[in-house]
């Protein structure tokens, strides 16, 4: 009996445990896997995210005028598993803590995260290529010097010729 009273008094002092959401603020646990944010500047178009995506939500394809690559992620088939973030070598793709996913039916096919990677010409031969992100160089090399930076501006063919002769 006394233990019951203790709990009852404690609950009275603590007040209601109900979250005030949607009228007020709510808590977000750290590391919540919410909507995805994509950074086209850091992306090297390795297509690993497209390969590992469980829901098939990610698509990377060349635009019709062949000026670059388009990244499309449809949140309505994304399982928020976080595999894309885990496998992304440059961390260009990130899961935010934004969980506000409710939307009306007319926005169903507009509920996407988009990005565009513009091709840059190779410094030597001018072939359009995906720009090498500095994030990738930082992953591959301990210290990035001038030589490496110069090589990163070449396409794979010219780079091979320059390095191997």
């Amino acid at each position: 009996m006394s233990s019951f009273l203790k709990i009852a008094i404690r609950n009275l002092l603590k007040g209601p445990s109900t979250d005030t959401y949607p009228y007020g603020e709510t808590f977000v646990p750290k590391g919540l896997r919410g909507k995805i944010k994509y950074n086209a500047k850091a992306c090297v178009a390795c297509r690993m995210c497209e390969h590992v995506c469980a829901g098939g939500a990610i698509q990377i394809r060349e635009v019709s005028d062949k000026s670059g690559l388009e990244f499309i992620l449809w949140h309505n088939t994304c399982a928020f598993c976080g595999l894309c973030e885990h496998y992304c070598p440059t961390k260009a793709i990130r899961l935010t803590e934004d969980y506000h996913t409710a939307h009306r039916q007319e926005d169903k096919y507009r509920y996407v995260e988009k990005g565009f990677i513009k091709y840059v010409p190779c410094a030597s031969c001018g072939t359009p290529m995906v720009p090498t992100a500095p994030e990738l160089l930082n992953v591959a090399y301990d210290n990035v010097n001038k030589d490496i930076e110069r090589l990163s501006k070449l396409c794979s063919k010219c780079r091979k010729e320059k390095v191997c002769g």
Binding site: T18, Y21, Y99, A102
Partner: protein, 143 residues
């Protein structure tokens, strides 16, 4: 009398849950949203009901499997108009990870007019509350 009823009904839409072959993840989140005092969906005037004949807002989970399709459609027809449909989780919206499977006949909006989508696998209780708030807004315009 009818006007009075309409005024009252606006404030108290009843929820009805249909499981169209869901893995139960979203159903657990729906139960959490309603039964745990922390989220307590009844603050919004909503209440889960057991019969489709009492329902105003329909919450559908699951990718509409081939086996359950006829039953879901029959159940949906039993719900009186006007009604608002909310798709909970990625499965009813697009098929999610089960998309293109031989056992799936969805996405659900091929058969049922959906009004609000709440993607997630499963969505957070707060996201479900967001979806229900959106559905209540639509419900008020339909009465």
């Amino acid at each position: 009398m009818k006007k009075l009823l309409q005024k009252i009904a606006k404030k108290s839409p009843w929820l009805y849950r249909i499981n169209a072959g869901s893995c139960n993840g979203c159903d657990v989140e729906l139960a959490t949203t309603a039964c745990i005092p922390r989220y307590d969906v009844e603050r919004l005037g909503c209440k889960y009901c057991g019969s489709p004949k009492h329902a105003d807002i329909v919450l559908i989970t699951g990718p509409l499997t081939a086996r359950v399709k006829e039953k879901v459609l029959r159940l949906y027809d039993e719900i009186p108009d006007p009604k608002v449909t909310v798709a909970i989780g990625v499965c009813p919206i697009s098929g999610g990870v089960f998309r293109d499977s031989y056992a799936i006949t969805g996405p659900i909006d091929n058969f049922i007019p959906v009004d609000v989508n709440v993607p997630g696998c499963p969505p957070r209780p707060q996201a479900i509350i967001d979806g229900i708030v959106e559905a209540i807004k639509i419900w008020e315009t339909r009465l």
